[in-house]
């Protein structure tokens, strides 16, 4: 079946903002799909609300719409563009749900838009629990006993029959939102109720728990000719019960015999055929560890996180092939892009072991419930490749950047036996490390199997790692033992600790003895066929396959796993750096370990090393490749953190020098630089002891902003209003990073302004100035940013521009810099300067058309911005207003306070763009997932200090017809203003109280600025969580509320009675 000629124009739907359960993997999938379709000569129209993606670059599609993925906006684009086809299966659950909605609305039929690839019927059959179960029964494929329920009463009925434990899975939700394991009646009420709420169709599947079974996944592809293949299978180290996105996964399966492998392969092929999927599909199985009994857990009729992992694990580009299948091709007509000599209709053979470990946000959300279950909590993941399981696993561990380089977390030594065993049974994010700790304490494989049900195969491997620690300890500087340790994947760091020397000594000793890794190719075929693909991993073996070319090369460090504070924006910049290096005529080499991203697509760079971003691993590659230098400023904090040590080992860091970076990041040096440049900054000083901190705060006056130096995403940053709070903070902050002192600054209330600029040492280009909606104090990543600024005077702008230019030159920046200013009483103060790529680079690049990462890279490589057509100054502002709106994943993270503050909490972002601020805001808020009803009630619970400001907001809500709800104190003040208000009981008072109001959906918006704090017990916290749990919009900043109001005022009308004209008339006098 050749390519379809009857369609010309194809609409691709992206996945929108990054949230837990739907991350960078869909940028990877979408980018591949767009490229694949363009390659075939189709006109590609893309819609995605996420500006931080590569797929929304205008070069990726013929037309890119960065608009909300809602019926309202997508249908508008369909009417305008009249596409012939729609590809819905590459945009995650968001894309899929959108396609279903479009189809059901009839608009696709009306405009003759054909759903390409997998058909709607198939999607529904896989997604709808009822239809799916029916199909499985018809196919004779086993599913666990279960029931579809729509009410809590139905859940009770099921439990009466089957008993506990059961698993609750809400229908049509991302990453299992709202679901969970239920052991008793209390859990049942809580989880079923929330599950029903989160399911857009108020439907949950409840099923008998098969916890303890092996969890195995198959990635399957099928074409229109009914040819189907398995790309890869994967085995979760964690048995059934933990969401696959939160599980440690290896590929291929390790403990399945061929009989079991083929049994599940046959089943997955039978299913993909019965569903009629045309493209990629993921089938999840539970396999009894003691028999051939298996159950189908779930089928995803689209590309997924697992398919991105499978693509990187095997080299087989699932999304690309899926797009070609949608365009009409059959598998045997598509070349295998890795070998370029074989076809896509084969099954990859691996000759290595792949491990994936999720990256969780618990370092940021200390209060969060860390227990893992059916609801995904990880924000990202890392992957590592090795020639044995131990190597693969240990490489993955050190890729996590969680301050661990080995299966060892020191604080776990303090766990009591009870705690230890509890945490082995009820898995949390540290279980892998707890298993290792248990072996150190002498637990046996059998004991741990009893507690964890992790297959003995894996337990033995971990036990072996722990045992080898002793081998190492016994034999300092023994070459054979060292070689064996490195083959097992041990980091220099842990060997150094065991031998009581520095890491550097181990590293030097290894080079002396020739114990260095070689690089093997990922070639889809276990070396059976010659392959050209420059995709490598390191291992301690004989033959090296990574051949050094004559061409001069540059190494780019990627940004590692996606986490809060370091998201897809950094991958975006990394990809553009790589492309710019290629444009400039050098060989671009990338090192990264995140399987979800575009940067680890082997077709992006000249060479991809899929390796941990740890010093030794990076050094091995540099020693092997001998590049001109390394670029670190696009890989976020990950890459920056490596710069010092790389430089100390003789590596050239390209772009802004280390000294210059230190000048911007070291508090004292920065202060000196600012004084020299005569740029004001809020009063502040560095404290190295608690006493000093107290003294400093007293001198500069409260409120103060405190934070450790060198932080990521405002981690541990807090606004402190009094000494007691400061003392509590100091106690916790000192624990976080003892090497670095704590910064104490005067907290200036005012408008926050953010600027990104590019400097080559001579020319400073400022593509844009952004104004934040939320006042300073809310982390810039959690604020709504507006471009161009709407409320700044020309004079202020001039000041900002001048200061930016001065800073760029004065701090010797070569490449990118990001500055945060605060406008306080007409003076522009510098809050911080980041001498590197920032979160706003993709947003600004897209709305201003200035290819920032590209220009910065060229400046780093020595080209002059002037020769590239740029001059020093501010690029002319565009007429359109664009806003960047943060997106949070609070629904997935129980016990996390949603209050905005200096510490970043958002996981993603969307963009809204239109001709007025209000319209742009509307799009941005809608795209971020906010429901904006045009009438209803608003519940106010505001702190005393905010009451006066809140009154203005309340008046405006009232004016457009909203009903006001408030607690007694606030209500009294509102009544004084002659605004009708309903008093709501406080928490703890008689029912119905505030929580009931929220629970019962009586308030459409909740505006809550109650005492912020990390104590979950506080009322404010309970109100905010209750809102999140119930899907009610809850705003914690008066500024955000005001922005929302502006939108509401735009889309509604005032409900004012005609004036009575009773007052005496004022005459306009004329002469």
């Amino acid at each position: 079946m050749p390519k379809r000629e009857d369609i010309k124009k194809i609409l691709v739907i992206g996945s929108g903002p990054i949230v837990i359960g739907q991350a960078a993997e869909f940028d990877y999938a979408g980018t591949q799909a767009c490229q694949a379709l363009k390659e075939e000569g189709y006109e590609v129209i893309l819609i995605n609300s996420n500006p931080a993606t590569i797929m929304t670059d205008t070069s990726m599609a013929d037309k890119v719409y960065i608009e909300p993925i809602t019926y309202e906006f997508v249908s508008r684009i369909i009417r305008q563009e009249r596409p012939d086809g729609l590809l819905p299966t590459l945009g995650g659950q968001t894309g899929l749900n959108m396609a279903v909605e479009l189809q059901k609305s009839g608009i696709l039929d009306e405009y003759n838009v054909e759903l390409l690839g997998t058909k709607l019927h198939s999607i529904e059959q896989a997604e709808d629990r009822d239809l799916f179960r029916t199909l499985m029964n018809d196919l004779n494929e086993p599913v666990p006993p279960s029931a579809i329920i729509h009410t809590l009463a139905e859940a009770y009925e099921f439990v009466a029959e089957i008993g506990y434990p059961i698993i609750v899975r809400p229908a049509y939700t991302l990453g299992g939102t709202g679901g969970g394991l239920v052991y008793n009646e209390e859990d049942l009420i809580e989880i079923v109720t929330s599950g029903l709420k989160y399911s857009p169709v108020t439907q949950c599947l409840i099923e008998k728990s098969i916890a303890g079974f092996k969890e195995v996944e198959y990635e399957v592809m099928r074409d229109g000719k009914d040819q189907a293949i398995v790309v890869c299978n994967m085995e979760n180290i964690d048995p059934v019960g933990i969401h696959t996105g939160d599980s440690i996964v290896v590929a291929p399966s390790q403990t399945l015999s061929d009989r079991e492998y083929q049994m599940l392969r046959d089943s997955s092929l039978k299913i993909i055929r019965a569903l009629g999927i045309e493209g990629g599909c993921n089938v999840q199985f539970a396999l009894d560890p003691d028999s051939y009994q298996y159950y189908i857990i779930e089928v995803n009729p689209r590309v997924s996180r697992s398919s991105a992992l499978a693509s990187k694990a095997t080299g087989y580009p699932i999304a690309k092939i899926a797009a070609k299948i949608a365009a009409g091709y059959a598998l045997d007509e598509i070349m295998n892009p890795i070998t370029k000599t074989t076809y896509a209709s084969f099954e990859p053979a691996l000759d290595y072991v792949v491990s994936k470990i999720p990256r969780w946000p618990f370092d940021k959300f200390e209060a969060a419930n860390r227990t893992l279950g059916t609801q995904m909590k990880a924000t990202g993941e890392v992957m590592a490749i090795g020639r044995n399981l131990e190597e693969s696993l240990l490489k993955a561990v050190r890729s996590l950047e969680a301050n661990v380089l080995h299966l060892q977390i020191d604080k776990l030594k303090d766990l009591s036996q009870v705690e230890l065993e509890h945490r082995l049974q009820k898995a949390d994010d540290e279980r892998l490390f707890i298993v290792a700790e248990s072996f150190r304490r002498g637990y046996t494989v059998e004991q741990l199997w009893e507690l964890t049900k992790i297959d003995r195969f894996f337990l033995n491997k971990i036990s072996g790692i722990v045992q080898f620690e002793d081998e190492l300890k016994k034999a300092p500087f023994n070459v054979e033992v060292l070689q064996a340790g490195k083959e097992l994947g041990f980091a220099d760091d842990i060997i150094a600790k065991l031998w009581n020397v520095t890491e550097r000594e181990i590293y030097d000793f290894r080079y002396e003895k020739g114990i260095v890794p070689v690089y093997k190719m990922v070639d889809t075929c276990a070396a059976e066929f010659a392959s050209e693909t420059p995709y490598f991993y390191g291992t301690y073996e004989d033959e090296n396959e990574s051949i050094i070319t004559e061409k001069k090369s540059i190494v780019v460090l990627g940004s590692g796993p996606i986490r809060i504070g370091q998201g897809i924006e950094f991958d975006y910049a990394t990809v553009h750096t790589v492309l710019a290096i290629k444009e400039a005529g050098y060989e671009a080499i990338i090192i990264n370990n995140n399987p979800e991203t575009v940067s680890t697509d082997f077709s992006i760079s000249d060479k991809l090393y899929f390796e941990p971003l740890a010093v030794e691993d990076v050094m091995h590659i540099i020693n092997h490749e001998q590049p001109l230098g390394v670029i670190v400023q696009f890989g976020g904090q990950t890459a920056i953190n490596l710069a010092d040590e790389l430089s100390a080992r003789g590596v050239t860091i390209l772009g802004t020098s280390l000294e210059a970076m230190d000048q911007a990041e070291n508090r004292d040096k920065f202060e000196q630089a600012l004084q020299k440049l005569q740029i004001p900054q809020p009063l502040g000083r560095t404290a190295t002891s608690v006493a000093e901190a107290v003294e400093i705060a007293k001198t500069i006056g409260y409120p103060v902003l405190v934070r450790p130096s060198y932080v990521l995403g405002g981690r541990a940053m807090e606004i402190v209003y009094q000494e007691a709070e400061l003392l509590r903070y100091m106690e916790n902050a000192a624990k976080i990073n003892p090497k670095h002192p704590v910064l104490i600054d005067r907290y200036l209330i005012g408008k926050e302004i953010e600027v990104d600029a590019i400097c080559d040492g001579e020319t400073v280009v400022i593509p844009g100035i952004m104004e934040h909606i939320e006042r300073a104090g809310v982390h810039s990543g959690d604020s709504i940013a507006v471009y161009p600024p709407q409320s700044l005077t020309e004079a202020t702008k001039q000041k900002i521009i001048e200061r930016t230019i001065k800073l760029a030159k004065g701090l010797d920046i070569v490449g990118l810099l990001n500055i945060q200013f605060v406008l306080h009483e007409d003076e522009v103060y510098v809050l911080e300067v980041n001498p590197r790529s920032s979160r706003t680079v993709p947003f600004l690049s897209k709305i201003t058309g200035v290819p920032m990462a590209n220009l910065a890279t060229k400046a780093i490589l020595g080209l002059k911005l002037r020769d590239l057509g740029y001059e020093t100054g501010y690029v002319k502002e565009s007429k359109e207003v664009s806003v960047k709106v943060p997106v949070f994943s609070f629904a997935k993270l129980r016990d996390v306070d949603i209050t905005l503050g200096p510490e970043m909490k958002s996981t993603g972002e969307v963009m809204g763009r239109d001709y007025s601020l209000e319209k742009a805001l509307y799009k941005g808020l809608v795209a971020s997932g906010m429901k904006i009803p045009t009438h209803g009630s608003v519940l106010f619970t505001v702190a005393d200090k905010d009451k006066e400001e809140a009154l203005e907001i309340i008046r405006r809500f009232h004016r457009i017809g909203y009903h006001i709800l408030a607690t007694e104190g606030t209500a009294k003040r509102i009544k004084e203003e002659n605004i009708p208000v309903t008093v709501v009981n406080k928490i703890g008072d008689q029912k119905p109280n505030m929580l009931d109001v929220i629970r019962q959906g009586e308030a459409q918006f909740v505006i809550n600025t109650l005492t912020k704090g990390k104590q979950p017990a506080r009322d404010g916290f309970r109100i905010r969580r209750e809102s999140v749990e119930n899907g009610v919009v809850c705003l914690t900043s008066i500024d955000t509320a005001e922005a929302l109001l502006r939108v509401l005022e735009l889309i509604t009308f005032a409900a004012d009675a005609m004036p009575s004209f009773n007052e005496p008339k004022v005459m306009v006098t004329t002469k």
Binding site: Q254, D258, Y261, D290, T341, V445, R456, A526, F529
Partner: protein, 364 residues
């Protein structure tokens, strides 16, 4: 204990021995399957070969009672990256090390198996020896260069006497050239009344059994080394339906006038795509062969190509244009490997049914 693999081209791979400590030589081949090591090492088609498995972790799920493809494995050696010390699976009974010790087959682990695979891919199949560290490498290389590889593997692995595996369906005579148990299992699953006969059984002896169909099994080595089978098949053609697998396929081709030739490094693995020309459809197949039927040699004879390998275009299936006989180069019985081609057994059943009906028709 340190042991090594020495190859005829002078290459030496030092690793650790497991299994037997015997010194053994043979043709070194590689298989890319990620599961199914027990089936592979007991597949008689590998008779006298040293098998390298490209997947690095072997023995993870241990050795069980059920998955042997022959009663007495006949490989001359097994090379892996890592032989599992702690296998885990509910059917597991012993480790791969225990098994190879019991069978007196040498194993070698801890070498760069990918390097070895790439070497074989580039220069073709090589003769090699697994031996201790004390040998004179140069002398071994010379010996290997002059080593005459055996040509009698089929006689080694074929059953010596006929035996029955009864059923109530079609009577199938299964000629054992080094049969994998899987073939017999598939026939038994279809209730065939199977008689397994030695490779050198004559056509007359077979016809005396009054079969409804004849199954030519897989087996080791070069098909021209078993000329008696070619004679036998020639006589059987047209008498009863024939289905050949692997070596059986090559023998059917030779009997029909085609030629066979040795491949550079063969097809061995569980991921080989094969296209059926009639439907244009792909099946993923398990393969294990070092020889192939020459495409050119088929042109002027009464044979049509029915299947080809997607990767290199070699012949993977043929059918006779005049008689009810067909064969495939790959393994529809799988074990190990994908079961996509299992439908071929149905086709064989169909062929037998039609033939019987036709006979009945001509008689009646």
């Amino acid at each position: 204990m340190k042991r090594q693999l020495i190859l005829e081209n002078g290459a030496v791979f030092v690793g650790k021995g497991f299994g037997s400590e015997r010194e053994m030589s043979g043709e070194v081949v590689f298989n890319t399957g990620m599961t199914g090591y027990q089936e592979i090492l007991s597949d008689p088609s590998y008779c006298a070969q040293i098998v390298t498995l490209t997947y690095p972790l072997i023995g993870n799920y241990g050795i069980n009672r059920d998955d042997f493809e022959s009663i007495k494995p006949s490989i001359n050696g097994l090379i892996v990256k890592e032989a599992a010390k702690h296998p885990s699976n509910w059917r597991h009974e012993e480790s791969i090390d225990d098994l190879l010790k019991a069978l007196d087959i040498p194993g070698l682990e801890g070498i760069d198996t990918r390097k070895l695979t790439r070497m074989i891919r580039n220069v073709g199949t090589l003769r090699g020896r697994i031996c201790s560290m004390d040998v004179d490498v140069e002398a071994v290389v010379n010996e290997l260069k002059n080593l005459t590889l055996p040509t009698n593997q089929v006689s080694q692995v074929s059953t010596k006497v006929p035996y029955a595996s009864p059923g109530r369906g079609y009577r199938v005579v299964l000629v054992d050239f080094g049969m994998k148990k899987g073939i017999l299992r598939e026939l038994n699953n279809r209730d065939c009344d199977v008689v397994v006969v030695p490779y050198n059984t004559t056509a007359e002896e077979i016809l005396r059994l009054n079969p409804d169909g004849i199954m030519l099994s897989n087996g080791p080595g070069d098909p021209v080394d078993v000329p008696e089978a070619v004679v036998m098949i020639k006589k059987l053609l047209g008498q009863v339906p024939i289905f050949g697998i692997c070596l059986g396929h090559q023998l059917l081709a030779l009997a029909s006038g085609a030629k066979t030739t040795k491949l550079k490094f063969g097809h061995r693995g569980s991921n080989h795509p094969v296209k059926e020309l009639a439907t244009g459809k792909i099946a993923i197949t398990a393969q294990n062969h070092g020889y192939t039927v020459e495409q050119e040699s088929i042109k002027d004879i009464r044979i049509a190509v029915t299947h080809v390998a997607v990767n290199d275009g070699t012949v993977e299936g043929i059918e006779h244009l005049d008689y009810p006989a067909f064969s495939v180069q790959y393994h529809p019985e799988a074990s190990p490997g994908p079961e996509d081609a299992n439908y071929l057994f149905e086709r064989f059943m169909e062929l037998m049914k039609n033939n019987i009906e036709q006979k009945a028709g001509t008689r009646g």
